[in-house]
Symmetry: none
Subunit: 238 residues, 2 copies
């Protein structure tokens, strides 16, 4: 079962700057048997340095590099963000690592686990791609963890129960690409019809993307919904 969860999870590092941290993430992945590492807009010299370091692991050498988060998670059916602090008005359900672990196990498909940059964590835009957030319970005075340590704790938690309940057969969850299509159809349709919240166009898109991510769609529902939306935008029959 460890293999199932190890195969399912893609570690996605966004805007990481320190090559030591990228190396530390790869090392923790090797320790716990995870293999899929994706980096989005890494600080370039740092990533090249980490990848070419003597003793760089297979994981690091095979890490995929992407130019956008949407691209990095396009094949994933569940996207989990990680958060140090949590604002006053959380937009997402917030899970402990053990709770996230159960959800990943129950989930049939590929899961992206996102880590933001060392300094700023995940941006609002990054968060709008997430269905849930994972938060490691840390002291309120020292909330922010080192990146490599946070990854180690998450991966340890994901594999700590070797013997685990069998995952249930469920219809495949909608992919990030499906959700992006819905978001695009909705956004363009609304803007064409003069929908414009006070906060402006970008805020509108973020708002719609977050809404769509919360809908818990399976892939069949996603198709239906796109059909429905296209239909709604037609002229009324006379």
């Amino acid at each position: 079962m460890a293999n199932v969860i190890c195969d399912a999870v893609r570690l996605v590092l966004i805007g990481t700057r320190n090559p030591l941290n990228i190396g530390a993430v790869a090392r923790a992945m090797g320790n716990f048997g995870f293999r899929h590492l994706r980096v989005v807009n890494p600080y370039d010299p740092a990533f090249r340095e980490a990848r070419s370091a003597v003793g760089a692991s297979e994981i690091l050498r095979h890490a995929e590099q992407h130019n956008s988060l949407a691209d990095a998670i396009s094949d994933c059916t569940l996207v989990i963000g990680t958060a140090a602090g949590v604002g006053r008005d959380p937009q997402h359900p917030i899970l402990l690592p053990a709770e996230a672990s159960e959800i990943i196990r129950a989930h049939g498909g590929s899961v992206a686990l996102l880590f933001g940059s060392e300094k700023r964590g995940l941006s609002k835009s990054d968060l709008s791609y997430c269905q849930v957030l994972l938060k490691i319970p840390t002291s309120e005075h020292h909330e922010s963890m080192n990146l490599g340590q946070a990854v180690a704790v998450c991966l340890y938690e994901f594999i700590r129960h070797e013997a685990c309940p069998a995952s249930i057969v469920q219809p495949a969850t909608a992919t990030a690409t499906d959700l992006d299509r819905i978001t695009a159809v909705l956004t363009s349709g609304l803007l064409a019809r003069g929908y414009m919240p006070a906060e402006g166009r970008d805020a509108a898109e973020l708002k719609i993307r977050r809404l769509v991510r919360r809908l818990a769609l399976n892939s069949r529902d996603a198709e239906t919904l796109i059909g429905i939306l296209r239909h709604l935008m037609r002229e009324p029959a006379p």
Copy 2:
């Protein structure tokens, strides 16, 4: 209870060489609420560097420095070593982190948790002071963990039962009335635009009602969605 276990445990680093690792240990301790750090024969300039670094934590500045392990653990009533690999003929009971956590809880007094140097781990002599060993379950091909990451995993495990369930403030779930409004708006809008599945009008309504129920909407999302749907059915702006 977190305080009890945090007060009980003394982290003991033996012969650590890299100041970044000492700093990482202190950071993880701060994250999880542990305070007692002891270093035995650290590589001296490294320890001075870590301790005097800008932003060095209280924990690091108050770390005790000892010249022998015996001295560092003299007030402890339970000594737990940490091991990467375990030889063919283990001399100690070997515990998973969760098992060690239970033993620490059941134990009344001070507990030392020992970590050896980055390169060699604990020596035979160090091990002779231990009652039990803790081993983090790692892949057999990549057994050896980074020091700061191993400490983070252990401390996380020791306090994980104290963490209250995270799922915090969440908006209220949409009521059946909200869902009925959405279903009604959708159904009438679609039928007005000529949407008619082969199974007929009643089947269409059932299908839409089921879809809407699967969307996991909260009440705020339900309002937004009704607004969006009403908007979509307007004429496109010229």
